[in-house]
């Protein structure tokens, strides 16, 4: 992996002609992707310009890193090549908020916070909580398939996106889906692009279905004696008729695991549900629910270096076993774990260690534990020296060949984020 790092020289005159000289600048070390510094940053001002930049890069074999704000730029394997950063930040409009139809069209470079602010003017929202909404772009959130606590009620991005415009390496601007929620005409490219890490094309616009802002919100938190009773409570809540909009677990090596439950709706409805919830939680102790409890996932990204940050996925019934396995795996180590997961079985784990920590052995051990549970583990952050020795995504299974064929159709010259996705894609 990553054996070829020869950078192609970027001839910039033509590039400047496409986007204007003001929107092309030399990259600095701050633009490096996992230690590899690109040569130039280009910021097209329209979809058409963006597509022309791609077409130009493709014709010259220049490797492109699509980028929004770059908040999640380290998610992925080390790039094989990265000469040109293609920034979407000038494509930042909310194109349309069809509030009567509860849909909205947004450009890739629009910040999620800005998007939500616009939607809230008509009492609506994208029912989704991503990391760092004030500085993450919609395009970046889509490309990385980042998801938070609302997913358990409103679905993943794949369930909320209804249309997309994708710029392909050959300069094609292709639309798929549309502006209506119900639509089965043609292949579902919005889903294909979501979570594809910019390896198939660059998302320039997306259309989402929206939800109303709730009248009222209330969260309740509980402390459970151990991971077994934590898991029992998670399953009991999921098996109940409660209409929660968040169900989160938090665990670390110091305190017993906690569960957070969020209700939204009318004040009367929330009160009634809170009472029902309390009848399920006999074994747990209610604790104060702090307003920032739903930001605990994001808080995993703050702390000491060096650290390892992983995304994992197991069945909901295995969340307890997962916690136990993680803590067991770390018993002999001097690592400090913190874990935040959704009732769906998706979660994030942060391990803080020391310079001498054997991260490779830890990742291998965690993957083994996860495999035995039938789950998956991806590495989102680790010391750079470790990253060059692992595939951060883990094994894909028997569909890997098919994924390569899909990549090959969309990006035959492999100019988009080469090497960063699964199986070396």
């Amino acid at each position: 992996m990553n054996n070829s790092r020869v950078q192609t020289e970027v001839p910039t005159a033509e590039l400047g002609a496409i986007v204007g000289a003001d929107h092309l600048r030399p990259a600095t070390s701050a633009d490096a992707v996992d230690g590899i510094q690109p040569q130039w940053i280009v910021e097209p001002g329209s979809e058409e310009e963006l597509a022309r930049v791609l077409q130009w890069a493709n014709s010259l074999g220049i490797h492109v890193v699509p980028r929004g704000q770059g908040t999640k730029l380290e998610w992925g394997n080390l790039p094989r090549h990265a000469e040109l950063v293609l920034s979407t930040l000038r494509l930042n409009r909310v194109v349309e908020h069809a509030w009567g139809d509860m849909t909205a069209t947004v450009e890739a470079g629009c910040l999620m916070g800005e998007f939500q602010k616009t939607l809230s003017e008509h009492g609506q929202r994208l029912a989704y909580d991503a990391l760092w909404p004030e500085r993450s772009t919609m395009g970046g959130i889509l490309a990385t398939n980042d998801s938070g606590s609302y997913r358990i009620r409103f679905g993943a991005l794949r369930d909320l996106i209804i249309g997309i415009t994708l710029a392909l390496p050959d300069g094609t601007l292709a639309k798929s889906g549309g502006k209506v929620v119900k639509n089965v005409a043609g292949y579902d490219l919005p889903k294909l692009a979501t979570g594809s890490l910019g390896t198939l094309g660059v998302i320039t616009q997306a259309i989402f279905r929206l939800h109303p802002l709730p009248q009222a919100v209330r969260s309740l938190s509980f402390s459970t004696p151990d991971s077994t009773s934590m898991n029992e409570l998670v399953l009991a809540v999921q098996d109940s008729k409660l209409a929660y909009t968040g169900l989160q677990i938090r665990a670390d090596s110091h305190d017993p695991p906690c569960i957070d439950v969020r209700f939204e709706g009318t004040p009367g409805g929330i009160d009634a549900q809170a009472r029902q919830l309390l009848s399920l939680t006999a074994k747990a102790q209610q604790v104060e629910s702090f307003p920032d409890v739903w930001n605990k996932r994001q808080a995993l990204w703050t702390g000491k270096e060096p650290n390892l940050l992983c995304k994992f996925s197991v069945l909901p019934s295995q969340l307890g076993a997962l916690c136990a396995a993680v803590f067991r795996a770390l018993e002999q180590s001097r690592l400090t774990p913190r874990l935040v997961a959704q009732g769906l079985g998706l979660g994030f784990l942060r391990l803080e260690g020391e310079d001498g920590s054997d991260w490779l052995a830890i990742i291998t051990r965690l993957r083994e534990e996860m495999n035995s549970l039938g789950g998956t583990l991806g590495v989102l952050h680790c010391p750079l020296a470790v990253k060059s020795h692992i595939d951060v995504w883990g094994p894909v299974g028997d569909s890997e060949g098919l994924m390569h064929r899909v990549k090959n159709q969309f990006d035959p010259a492999a100019i988009l984020n080469p090497g960063r996705f699964v199986g070396g894609i």
């Binding site: 043609g186 579902d188 594809s196 399953l235 008729k241 069945l315």
Partner: protein, 482 residues
């Protein structure tokens, strides 16, 4: 078809799994879109994934196109056989393989009926949310192919929302697993692309479904208005008030008459009938139902009924779900259309449909999922009257064009299939269609799996490079082309 190939097929699926008798083949010559018919060369009924693989491998080797078929209830000709091809019927793959209540997952084979999933899990308080009106007879495999919806997808989402993973036999006979029982497996969301691909990317042989806990209460309201415009205003009011009902359905007077003649649902005889279902926590639903009633009243509803029992609720739904078939009571022939418009465009589109209907002298009954703007105009005609079928077909296509012009879609849940493939060019530009077909080229470069469907023109994948190569059987004069 070459006898040695037939013999090979027979060795894979057994004597009773191969149909070649013309009389029997006629059963498979069409799906729910009965005005398109093609006789397949043979029908194969495999019993296992391995048998499906075996059949597909032979098809791949011999370049024989194949069409997978579930119950054949599709309304766009998706399961219409292709000339010179075979049909692979999946009705024998009908086992529910696993029910995992704690994780709300069910693993099924493609031939399992949609309603069987709900029946299997309802004793534990769960249901399978996608509920096409044909749910008693349509198969999960067909639902996966078409990304089927239903009245309750307004709140719960479509088939694609409820499919977590798939075992798929690719058109070269290899087996892959897309998605899985846990979420966000690494790699492209190929399960997301496969669902709704109308059988053009391969054959699903196992499907991991997500089931949903039944809500605490379900309340269904029926409101009678003088016109669909008034009923439409009530829909806007409900959505505008920040509610997300489980379903909002509308029927016009002609559709009501048909439903009454057929199943005696007890609907009021009115110009526009609204059916609103709310579900969720009791306290919430009661409060919101009062709001819905008040919105309906303020929009001119002259009769409002809330079902007082489960039996009443079922009766209300029976009328709605039987509406397509019921139209047979008031017209000898009819076309079911499936267009979508942004919900706010509904009143304008309905007026336009009325105008087109009057101009063509063809009656149109309207049944629709009003909450998400999915229209099902039923275009009524009598085949015995010369020219009427042609006029009805034209009218139904004109309605689709209206939908696209309004920013909508040519299909909300029935699929493109054979019927609407030429309309894909109305809705999408050529680069859009070419890009979609890149997926096809990755899955099925030889265009063997349900070819000639969905897209107006097949993209030539790298292997074909624009040169038409006649099928070897065609060259040998073995294959019959109808």
């Amino acid at each position: 078809m070459d006898t040695s190939i037939l013999e090979e097929f027979r060795s894979i699926v057994g004597r009773d799994g191969l149909i070649t008798e013309p009389e029997q083949l006629h059963t498979y010559e069409c799906d729910g879109l009965t005005n398109y018919r093609v006789l397949p060369l043979a029908v194969l009924l495999p019993d296992t994934t391995e048998e499906v693989q075996g059949v597909v491998r032979v098809c791949h080797r011999e370049r024989i196109p194949f069409v997978a078929r579930g119950s054949g209830t599709g309304l766009s000709g998706g399961a219409l056989p292709v000339r010179g091809g075979i049909v692979i019927g999946l009705s024998r793959l009908n086992r529910i393989l696993k029910v995992d209540i704690p994780n709300a997952r069910v693993v099924v084979e493609p031939g399992v009926m949609n309603l069987s999933v709900t029946q299997q899990v309802s004793p534990r308080g769960y249901f399978y949310a996608p509920d096409p009106s044909s749910q008693q007879v349509c198969s999960i495999g067909g639902n996966v192919a078409e990304n089927s919806g239903g009245a309750h997808c307004l709140k719960y989402g479509f088939t694609t929302t409820h499919v977590l993973g798939l075992e798929v036999v690719l058109p070269d006979g290899s087996l892959v697993h897309l998605g899985g029982k846990t979420l966000d497996r690494p790699g492209y969301d190929l399960a997301g692309v496969f669902v709704g691909s109308e059988g053009t990317l391969g054959i699903a042989t196992k499907i991991i479904l997500r089931i949903v806990k039944r809500p605490e209460v379900i309340q269904t309201l029926l409101a009678a208005f003088n016109s669909t415009n008034e009923a439409g205003a009530a829909v806007s009011g409900i959505i505008g008030a920040g509610m997300l009902p489980a379903a909002i359905e509308m029927m016009d007077n002609l559709a009501i008459q048909a439903a009454e003649a057929s199943v005696h649902a007890g609907y009021p005889n009115c110009g526009g009938l609204l059916l609103v279902e709310l579900d969720g926590p009791a306290a919430e639903v009661e409060l919101l139902m009062e709001q819905v009633k008040s919105i309906c009243n303020s929009c001119g509803a002259w009769e409002i009924r809330v079902a007082q029992s489960e039996a009443e609720r079922i009766a209300i739904w029976k009328g709605r779900k039987s509406a397509f078939a019921a139209v047979g009571r008031i017209s000898p022939n009819y076309i079911v259309q499936d267009g979508v418009v942004p919900r706010t465009a509904l009143p304008r589109i309905l007026s336009e449909i009325e105008r087109l209907s009057a101009a063509a002298g063809i009656r149109v009954a309207n049944v629709f999922h009003a909450g998400d703007g999915n229209l099902h105009p039923l275009v009524l005609f009598d085949r015995r009257i010369p020219g009427q079928e042609q006029s009805a077909t034209e009218l139904s296509f004109n309605i689709l064009e209206l939908c696209v012009k309004a920013g909508g879609s040519i299909t909300g849940e029935h699929g493109v299939g054979e019927e609407k493939k030429k309309f894909m060019s109305v809705m999408f530009a050529e680069p859009d269609l070419e890009t979609m077909q890149l997926v096809r080229c990755a899955f099925d470069p030889e265009h063997l799996s349900n070819p000639e469907k969905v897209f107006p023109r097949p993209r030539l994948c790298a292997e074909r490079q624009g040169i038409y190569e006649p099928h070897p059987l065609e060259v040998a004069g073995v294959a019959e082309y109808f």
